[in-house]
């Protein structure tokens, strides 16, 4: 993972980091990704007949929209105006 790769991943992540951190993270992430090569030791596939014993029966509920009017919604917001979350200009 080169510096250029880190930049593109940062862009995808909506994340900014300092140049110093970019350098540090690149080395660390490369070491971690190198370790991931042990996965190539596993060439078998799970038996398609095998069923994970949990979450077999997913119980769903009706998806009903709910108003969320707790006073903390406004208090927790960094900028709340006229009943909505205010953000900097997009363009």
């Amino acid at each position: 993972m080169s510096n250029i790769d880190v930049d593109s991943i940062l862009d995808l992540s909506c994340l900014a980091i300092t140049d110093e951190r970019k350098k540090e993270f690149s080395g660390q992430l490369q070491k971690i990704l190198d370790y991931m090569s042990v996965l190539n030791n596993v060439d078998q596939l799970p038996d398609p007949q095998f069923e994970w014993p949990i979450s077999k029966d997913v119980v769903t509920r009706e998806d009903v929209p709910k108003l969320f009017e707790h006073p903390l919604v406004e208090q927790n917001a960094p900028d709340f105006k006229s009943g909505g979350f205010s953000v900097p200009r997009i363009i």
Partner: protein, 484 residues
Amino acid sequence: MSILRQIEKDLNSGQYTVAELTQAVLKKIAADDTNSFIESFDSSALNTAAEIDASDQTSSLIAKGMPVGIKDNMCFENHGVTCASAILDGYKSPYTSTAVQNMLDRGFVPVGRLNMDEFAMGSSNEYSIYGLVDNPWDASCVPGGSSGGSAAAVASGLVPVSLGSDTGGSIRQPASFCGVVGLKPTYGRVSRYGLIAFASSLDQIGPFAQYVEDVAILFESICGFDSNDSTSELRTDQSFVDQLKSGTLTGKRIGVPNELMSEKVATSVQDAIRKTLKTLESAGAIIDYFDFKYFDEALATYYILAPAEASSNLSRFDGVRYGHRSAKGQTLRDMIELSRQEGFGDEVKRRIILGTYVLSSGYYDAYYGKAQQVRGVVTQRYSDLLNQYDFICSPTAPTTAFKKGAHEGDPLTMYLSDLATIPVNLAGLPAISIPCGLDSNGLPIGFQMTGGWFQEQSLLQAAYELEQRLAFKPKNQFRMDPLL
């Protein structure tokens, strides 16, 4: 031995009231210097205690009035919750998580929120904006993580029980490092509603205590089906305390992975595990050794899947609706990027980058797809093994608690300390860590027992019986001090 039963006895005999108990615990927390607690809930705890004292005292609920600490990633209405992150500094939850609500309904009194690694990403509690937590056995050592505060608070005797969460070992490893009992339930046993998500397919809430019986009491209080969590399981077996003492180790088949009794594990830890296996054998259990084959592969799998899920889950922290917002951003994009840069710590950033990378076009199949395949293989391996054995036993961690700063700048070495716990999360199995001895430095060693899916009853029974035989002495047992 049960501290909760002793408190119940004292309350019923009128030795002290719930309000006096709560007040004493809050004073202990205020005087504590381990940094286990981030905040104490003085006002709400004392109000709840007063309500319990004023209510019908004939209730048979053992949990009534019992103080409990909660990890700083569980929502509790009108209380702060930050995941030990600057990005949620000052945030107060507008709702209560199901696990906490279930506890409240049983009469537990939440007394405060506990320190942790930021967003539960870490194995040492060193990644917290609130600073390091001291290991109560040796303040120069870490308490483990990510639920380091939850383990240290119980080990210090500040609270009799606490709640943590376990994504890759975050209950069991700190339990091991702090010499307490920690249970990671089967995935789906405890609702994740209101648990701030790290890796949704792996996260599970569970209890800490100094004794197995107290772990069983708290566990029974928090589990159950919840329609707010689509992975919550509808189960009928939800009573774990009544039958706790009716189990037997006689004839139980115990499988021990050879890899976790090898050079991967410190000699002192291996010695303590061998001694514990002999104790099990003398109780009538049958010990057998096997090659698990996939420990390294499971670790690699986890460090692909967990960051991948985290990178998605943490995208909600954008400074728009809640949390930290950078004052520097002139456009929306700048504001989001800078808010995340200022709000997240280094380990969280590392995992977001790693997770985004393994999900990105061109790398998805090689990393995420492959990891999903290996997760299936590991789970199937466990299924085969649990047809042969009642329990799989091993050290909880390869070492005892390490020194603060020992793995600074070397995240891979830190990740390797989760070797014994991570495969259990991949398969969604229940596992418990109980203290089984001390190393030559006087630091506790944890013994991990893994059971079959939803076999918490037999797991707790076996752990209880083993605990009686080991007779491990806690460092600082919780007690109600009348002088406080």
